[in-house]
């Protein structure tokens, strides 16, 4: 019995799209990355599932249109996340000014994460906790933890200084910790 063929890499699928207009190859890319892109956008939109899916759809359509601009130096997922962040920022700007700067009035983090958190935290708790974060904090946390970008990549993708990303991450962690611990029985 022949061994099952290994699934094609992202790069192979992208080349198939570019060279042969292979829609099925792009479909495989969508199936492969849809979960992460939609999760990232759900976190960015504070759990608005419908809006997140609309933005995710827009993200993949933009990726399809601009695939020729993809340089194979970066991971395809990183490139997709950048499009997703831009799409979210454009959408958010339509509704209100997105504030990605550091909120100087916010209390400084100053909290070390030494306290053990409960092992199981309901996703709904985390979603609610994420809602208290500022736009910038939520974007930084989503970029670094959900999109798995480095601080440098997150700074580039979000168009904010590296120091701001680090500050956002620190403050967001402190806020999340405080919020989740408050909800403990």
């Amino acid at each position: 019995m022949p061994a099952p063929a290994a699934s094609p890499s992202d790069a192979q699928l992208i080349l198939a799209v570019l060279e042969r207009e292979d829609r099925r190859a792009f479909g495989l890319l969508v199936e492969r990355h849809q979960s992460q892109v939609r999760t990232v956008l759900r976190r960015l939109t504070k759990g608005d599932v419908a809006l997140a899916d609309d933005l995710a759809q827009e993200t993949f359509v933009l990726a399809w249109r601009n695939l020729r601009k993809f340089r194979f130096e970066a991971k395809f997922s990183t490139w997709l996340y950048r499009i997703a962040f831009n799409t979210w920022q454009s959408e958010a700007r339509k509704k209100h000014e997105v504030l990605l700067d550091v909120d100087e009035d916010a209390p400084p983090p100053g909290l070390e994460m030494t306290t053990q958190m409960p092992d199981v935290v309901a996703r709904v708790d985390l979603e609610r906790a994420m809602e208290i974060l500022s736009d910038g904090e939520r974007a930084a946390i989503t970029a670094c933890f959900y999109a798995d970008l480095s601080h440098e990549e997150a700074a580039e993708a979000l168009g904010m200084p590296l120091g701001t990303v680090k500050t956002h991450i620190l403050r967001a962690r402190a806020k999340l910790k405080a919020r989740l611990e408050k909800g403990k029985p």
């Binding site: 792009f26 849809q34 999760t39 759809q57 399809w64 306290t115 962690r173 989740l180």
Partner: protein, 104 residues
């Protein structure tokens, strides 16, 4: 790694079921712009060539391209023909540089 990091990473690892999402995306994909790879190059090169032909056609009397190359061979760069030859080669070189940069 502290617990907040772990909670966030665990949450990020949860796989969302497709639920028809990929099919919806595929149904809305527009036709990709069909650009033939050689067309752009042909346009740049053709424009440069057309410019050269017009330059030759409207060159002052006595400015022949062949005479220009002959003048250049004799290190005479200030004759009308030599200037025409330099402009001709410059236009072709510029188009080659544009194509080389864009194909990078």
């Amino acid at each position: 790694m502290n617990d907040i990091d772990r909670i966030l990473r665990d949450d990020a690892r949860i796989v969302l079921p497709d639920e028809g999402f990929a099919a919806r995306v595929m149904a809305t994909l527009p036709a990709r712009p069909r650009t033939k790879p050689w067309l752009h190059s042909a346009l740049v090169f053709g424009s440069a060539l057309l410019g050269c032909v017009l330059a030759v056609a409207f060159a002052p009397a006595g400015a022949s391209l062949l005479q220009g190359f002959a003048d250049l061979a004799q290190l005479q760069a200030r004759t009308p023909g030599a200037l025409l030859a330099i402009a001709f080669c410059g236009a072709l070189l510029a188009s080659a540089v544009v194509l080389a940069i864009e194909s990078d």
